[in-house]
C-alpha cells in the first residue's frame, strides 16, 4: 500500500481534493460537508509533506499520467521549485478550510453550503494541478478549473452584497480573456515546435533562433498569465473580487491564487523559455516587468491609503505586494528570484492572517468592515486584534516577523543588481504602507468613540486557525532558515537551467 501511495503522490495531491469535491457536492448535511472538506485538505497536506521528503533526496520526481511517457503523454513534475507553491496552497488550504465553516453558514444560503465546499475543493485541486503539471495545455485546463470555481465562489458573496455578482462577472471575463491569450500562445508554440511538454519545448525552442511566431507566443502567454497574477495594469478585477467574496474565499484566494500564477510566470520565463533566455525572457523581465512591478508597488499602496472598505484596502495592498514579488523575479538574478520565492511564502502567511483577522471582526459585528465601523473594536476582540497587529506589522516589515526577512532579501538582491535607487524606492513604498496600517490600528484601538456590541465572545474555532497563522508569522521571522534555504535552492535550480 505504502509504496503505491509514494509512487503516485504527484497525482494524489491533485486527485484527492478533486474526488472529494464530487462527494461533497451531493451531501445535504453542511457539517458533514465541512468535515469531509477538512479531511480532504488534511489528506492533501499529508501527501504534500510526504512529497517534501521524497523531493528532498530525489530532487526531481517525474510522473507520467496513465504511464504515457512524455512528450506524448502528460507529465507531472515535482521538483525543488514547485514544492514551494504546493506547500503554500496545501497549508493555507487546510487552515482556511478549518476557518471557513462559521462564515459559510452565516454568509451563504443554507442549501448552498455543501455546494460551496465542492467549489472550494475544486479551487484547491485546480491550483495544485496548475503547479504540478509540466504540460503547457494541461496547465490551461487547470487554469480554467481553478478560475471558474473561484468566480463562482466570489459570486456567492451576493447574499451579503449584490456587488459580488458584478465582481465575479468581471473576474470571469478578464480571466477568460487571459486564459484564451495563454491558449493562443501555446497554440503558436505547438505550431512551430510540435510539442506541448515544457521540458521538450525548452529543448526545441533554441533551434528556431529568433522566430517571429515564438516571440508572439511568448508575448501572448506572458500577458495571459499576467492577467491571472494581477500584475499592475492588469489587476483591475482583483480588489472587487477579493472585497465582495464570502470571507473564507477572500482568505483562500488572497493567499494562494495570485501566487500560483506568479509561479507560472517564473516557469514560462525560466523553464519553457529558459533555454533561449537571452532572446525572450531577459528583455521582457528587465525592461517591462521591472517597471510594472515598481508602478504596482506605488499604485497599490496609494490606492490602499485612500480606501475606506477594509477588505478592499487589503486587496489593494495585495497588488502592491505582488509588485514586490514580481520585482524579485524581474531582477533576473539568483538572489532576486530567491527573494521573490521568500516573499511568495511570507506574503501568503501575512495576507492570510490579515484577511482572517479582518473577516473575523466582520463576523462579530455582522457588518461590512469599514474604517468607521471598526472604531474601538480591537479592545473588545483582543485575540483577533493581537493577530491583526502582528500580521500588519509583518506586512510593513518589522524585525522578528516574516515581512522583515523578505524585505531584507529583496533589498539586498535589488542593491546587488541595480544599485541604490531601487532599494530606495522599495523602502519608500514600505514606509507608505505604514500609513494605511496605522490607519487601521488607530481605528481599532485608539478610536475614542467605540462601537458597543452586546455579548461579544471570541469563538475558538475562529481564533485558533488565526493564531496558527500568527505563530507561523513570528516563527519564520525568527527562524527563517527553512524558507531561505529552500528558496535559494529553487532559484539556483531555475538559474542553472537557463542558457
Amino acid at each position: 500500500m505504502m509504496p503505491f501511495i509514494i509512487k503516485n503522490l504527484p497525482i494524489l495531491i491533485v486527485i484527492t481534493p478533486l474526488m472529494f469535491s464530487l462527494i461533497v457536492a451531493v451531501l445535504n448535511n453542511n457539517r458533514l460537508a465541512w468535515t469531509l472538506s477538512t479531511f480532504a485538505s488534511f489528506l492533501t497536506m499529508i501527501f504534500t509533506i510526504f512529497l517534501c521528503f521524497e523531493v528532498s533526496y530525489k530532487s526531481n520526481i517525474s510522473y507520467y499520467l496513465g504511464n504515457w511517457p512524455p512528450p506524448l503523454g502528460i507529465e507531472y513534475v515535482i521538483d525543488r521549485i514547485s514544492i514551494i507553491p504546493i506547500m503554500i496552497v496545501s497549508v493555507i488550504g487546510l487552515i482556511a478550510t478549518l476557518f471557513a465553516h462559521n462564515f459559510f453558514t452565516l454568509e451563504i444560503d443554507e442549501k448552498l453550503v455543501s455546494k460551496t465546499y465542492s467549489l472550494w475543493l475544486l479551487t484547491i485541486a485546480g491550483l495544485i494541478g496548475l503547479i504540478t503539471t509540466a504540460d503547457a495545455f494541461n496547465l490551461f485546463v487547470f487554469l480554467e478549473i481553478s478560475s471558474l470555481s473561484a468566480v463562482a465562489l466570489v459570486a456567492l458573496g451576493s447574499k451579503v452584497d449584490r456587488k459580488a455578482l458584478v465582481a465575479g462577472y468581471n473576474y470571469l471575463i478578464l480571466g477568460a480573456v487571459g486564459a484564451t491569450f495563454y491558449v493562443i500562445g501555446v497554440g503558436l508554440l505547438y505550431g512551430v515546435t510540435g510539442t506541448l511538454n515544457m521540458g521538450d519545448l525548452a529543448q526545441k525552442i533554441p533551434a528556431l533562433g529568433l522566430n517571429k511566431s515564438v516571440i508572439v507566443a511568448f508575448t501572448f502567454m506572458m500577458l495571459g498569465i499576467m492577467v491571472k497574477a494581477a500584475v499592475f495594469p492588469l489587476h483591475i478585477w482583483l480588489p472587487n473580487a477579493y472585497a465582495y467574496a464570502p470571507s473564507p474565499v477572500s482568505v483562500l484566494l488572497a493567499a494562494t491564487a495570485t501566487k500560483v500564477s506568479i509561479y507560472i510566470i517564473v516557469r514560462i520565463s525560466y523553464t519553457i523559455f529558459g533555454s533561449s533566455y537571452e532572446i525572450y525572457s531577459f528583455e521582457s523581465l528587465r525592461y517591462i516587468l521591472l517597471y510594472l512591478a515598481i508602478l504596482a508597488m506605488f499604485a497599490g499602496t496609494i490606492m490602499a491609503i485612500f480606501e475606506k472598505d477594509v477588505k478592499k484596502l487589503l486587496a489593494h495592498s495585495s497588488v502592491a505586494q505582488i509588485g514586490y514579488i514580481v520585482l524579485g523575479i524581474s531582477l533576473a538574478t539568483s538572489p532576486g528570484i530567491a527573494s521573490s520565492f521568500i516573499h511568495l511564502i511570507n506574503h501568503a502567511l501575512i495576507k492570510a492572517g490579515l484577511f482572517m483577522s479582518i473577516v473575523a471582526m466582520g463576523y462579530y459585528t455582522l457588518k461590512r468592515i469599514d474604517v468607521k465601523t471598526i472604531a474601538g473594536l480591537g479592545r473588545q476582540l483582543p485575540i483577533t486584534f493581537f493577530s491583526f497587529v502582528i500580521c500588519a506589522l509583518s506586512l510593513a516589515g518589522l524585525p522578528l516577523t516574516v515581512g522583515f526577512i523578505s524585505k531584507l532579501y529583496l533589498i539586498k538582491a535589488a542593491y546587488m543588481s541595480e544599485g541604490i535607487w531601487l532599494p530606495f524606492l522599495i523602502l519608500v513604498s514600505s514606509a507608505l504602507s505604514l500609513i494605511y496600517i496605522w490607519k487601521l490600528i488607530e481605528g481599532l484601538w485608539y478610536s475614542k468613540k467605540s462601537l458597543k456590541i452586546e455579548k461579544i465572545r471570541e469563538l475558538p474555532e475562529i481564533y485558533l486557525p488565526l493564531l496558527v497563522i500568527t505563530f507561523l508569522n513570528i516563527y519564520f521571522g525568527i527562524d527563517a532558515g527553512l524558507i531561505i534555504d529552500n528558496s535559494f535552492i529553487a532559484s539556483d535550480a531555475l538559474m542553472s537551467g537557463i542558457r
Binding site: A155, V177, T180, G187
Partner: protein
C-alpha cells in the same frame, strides 16, 4: 498578392474573428453581449488550432491499408475538444451570473449597474450622517 490573401485564408478568418470578439468584449456595455463576444473570441482560437492540424490533402488519422497515407494531425483536434468544453463552461457561468445580476439590479447594462451602485453608496453615506 492573391496568395497572401487566399493562401492563408483561414488565418485571416481567425484574425478577423479574434478582433471582432475582443472588440465586443471591450466596447459593449451589455453584459450579455460581452459573453457573446467572449465566445466569438474563443471560437477564433479553436479555428487557429484546427488550421495548424490540417494538412492539405490529408485524411482522417485512422489506420488504412495504405502505409503512405497522408493524415492530418489529430492532437490539435483533441486539445480543442477540451477547450470547447472549457468554453461552454465559461459561457454557462457567465450567463448564469448575468441572470443573477439581472435579478439583483433589474438591468444588464454596465453603466446602469454602476449608476445603481453609486446611488446605493450615497444613500448609505447619508444614512451614516
Amino acid at each position: 498578392m492573391i496568395d497572401q490573401i487566399f493562401g492563408v485564408w483561414n488565418y485571416w478568418i481567425v484574425f478577423i474573428l479574434m478582433m471582432i470578439g475582443l472588440y465586443i468584449v471591450i466596447s459593449k456595455k451589455s453584459l450579455l453581449k460581452k459573453i457573446v463576444g467572449l465566445a466569438i473570441f474563443q471560437t477564433s482560437v479553436f479555428l487557429l488550432y484546427i488550421t495548424f492540424g490540417k494538412i492539405a490533402g490529408g485524411t482522417a488519422p485512422i489506420l488504412t491499408d495504405n502505409v503512405n497515407e497522408i493524415y492530418s494531425n489529430p492532437l490539435p483536434h483533441v486539445l480543442i475538444l477540451t477547450a470547447i468544453v472549457v468554453g461552454v463552461a465559461t459561457t454557462a457561468l457567465g450567463l448564469a451570473l448575468t441572470v443573477r445580476i439581472n435579478k439583483a439590479y433589474g438591468t444588464i447594462n454596465e453603466d446602469e449597474i454602476s449608476a445603481s451602485d453609486l446611488v446605493e453608496y450615497h444613500e448609505k453615506y447619508l444614512e451614516d450622517k
